[in-house]
């Protein structure tokens, strides 16, 4: 029997964090102004999950990584131009909204279906990875629901470290309150790990990896099934960007001693 892992990473695109986001209300509910035109990036925490998965696959022979990604097909294709050069994976594309105003329950349903539909995926080798929350919906709920739908009850949230022990068990460090980690040991797959930042930097682009990945990415995009997700039953009454314009007092040419004194008074006040 193989000792490798089957690593399925759920992750999609979010607007580039440097973009200005403005909500608009359309017939289907709230959305972002010019959403389809906004430059996008791989969701940061999902990205960490992908890099951790690739790193684990590299160290455990006979492992394989799938990236299950829900988003508009055309935008997924753009995203893959950069992501596919980072680490080896096989794409499972789902053609639907990647917007923040969708419901995690609906998203979890289509993701779970996609995972179940992966040919050759072995449940007793399955590690389901994703971000601990997205930078769009920011619910922090989707991975647990996908896990539940797949009947996986060993779940970990806000993971920063995973170590495979000599006996095959998984040592997991999860972020908890007070800048602490909870240390748990899971007997082995299947398990859900929703990652925080992990420990790995973003891998550099590797054109060779990109060429190999793109052989499967383009067919996967062509095969992408429509995956309509919305927020059935939710009535959005208002979506606003908080206006917190402050009347900033800009202090120039004040001697350092005076600034320090003013700050100390403020800190103690």
């Amino acid at each position: 029997m193989s000792s490798g892992f089957h690593l399925v990473v759920c992750g999609s695109l979010v607007p580039d964090p440097l973009q200005t986001l403005e909500p608009v209300t359309g017939p289907a509910g709230p959305a972002l102004k010019n959403e389809m035109m906004l430059p996008s990036v791989l969701d940061p925490w999902a990205g960490h999950a992908l890099y951790e998965a690739a790193h684990l696959a590299e160290s455990a022979p006979d492992s394989k990584v799938w990236l299950v990604s829900l988003g508009p097909k055309a935008r997924l294709q753009q995203l893959m131009m950069s992501i596919a050069q980072k680490v080896p994976f096989e794409l499972v594309a789902l053609d639907g909204s990647a917007g923040g105003f969708t419901d995690p329950t609906e998203v979890a349903a289509v993701l779970a279906n996609a995972v179940q539909g992966i040919a050759g995926l072995e449940r007793d080798r399955l590690l389901l990875f994703g971000g601990c929350a997205s930078a769009s919906r920011d619910a922090g709920a989707t991975m647990q629901m996908v896990g539940e739908r797949l009947g996986i009850t060993e779940q970990f949230l806000a993971v920063d470290e995973l170590t495979v022990e000599c006996d095959g068990s998984l040592k997991v460090l999860e972020r908890i309150e007070g800048a602490q980690y909870q240390i748990s040991v899971c007997a082995g797959p299947p398990a859900v790990l929703a990652w925080a930042t992990g420990n790995l930097p973003e891998p550099p682009n590797n054109p060779q990896v990109g060429m190999v990945n793109m052989r499967s990415v383009m067919p996967a995009l062509q095969r992408a099934q429509p995956a309509p997700v919305a927020a059935e039953g939710v009535k959005f009454l208002d979506v606003t960007v908080p206006r917190q314009q402050r009347d900033t007092r800009i202090v120039r040419d004040m001697p350092v001693d005076e600034i320090a004194r003013e700050l100390v008074d403020w800190i103690r006040g």
Partner: protein, 343 residues
Amino acid sequence: METVLYLTHTESDGSLGKPALEALSAALQLAQELDGAPPLTIGLIGGEVQAAADALAGCGAGRFMGVAGAELAVSRYSSDAAAAAALVEAAQPTLVVAAATSRFSRALPGVCQRVGGRIDTQVTELQVVDTEPRIERWYYRQRMAATLTRSQRPWFLLLAGGAFPAWEGEAGTAEVEAVPVDMPETRTRVVGTQSASADAHTIRPEADLLFVAGAGWTKKQVDGQPHVTEAEQCIREFVDAAQASLGSSKSLVDQGGEGQQVLSFMSHLHQVGQTGTTPRHRKGLATCCHGEEPHVVGWRFITERRAINLDAGCGWGQGKADVLYVADAFDVMTKVNELLGES
């Protein structure tokens, strides 16, 4: 008719944490405002729950239910989800209110899935308008807020910390109904906890002041050289003297992965902003930060904000801070440390 279940778990010493008490006050208010709703039901989970129930005895809840046992003395998905699902099945609520602790953030979405409900997280406000419960929650990492309501039930609400006042009231003796649970076989063993780093005590969620260090601390200074060791010393001295919590911009934390010189005590756990935490300290002092929007969102809930930056045109000068000192943070913080040391 709406019925509200407040779910909470005990801390390792059997007490209830501040987030739990904040969520309780919100749940009590919600149950009170919902026309015709019965008094709040409280569901407790923990190794032992009687002491926690007694601490809440004076809150006016109509019913106390509990699931206790050695398996629940620790935070673990499978056991927590089984316990919470049992409480929800027993109470049959339409609304479930809980604090977004790490334990419940992990377990309750799965419970919601198990019982066929819907969940909203990041909730910062609860309202009742014409018998309709409404919530405010944030999207795109604190960049926009939405007010919404839902038709599906049960509706789980995970409340953000620091958004509601903590409940205070008389303790007493509560009669806790023990709810039976078939604990699933678990393959996970909780071993313990550890600090994120040797200097993790620089993260102090209860501190009055948040001190955020930006990437400028590690850049070349006026003499053309970086002074990372001095920067470390200056920051540590200040954080200890002022008992402030230390935060960092993403760019400073990321430098570690990029092979640049870094502040040794900084980890991703210090990071505030779009891909970090959203702290709720009363005061915030930013130093050497560029003030781009992804960073600024981490300051959304800081009430009083000041910044030190050499660039008067930085993001903090654009109406986001109350005061922007255009000065060298090295010089200013060194002097601040001197003054704090004198007192």
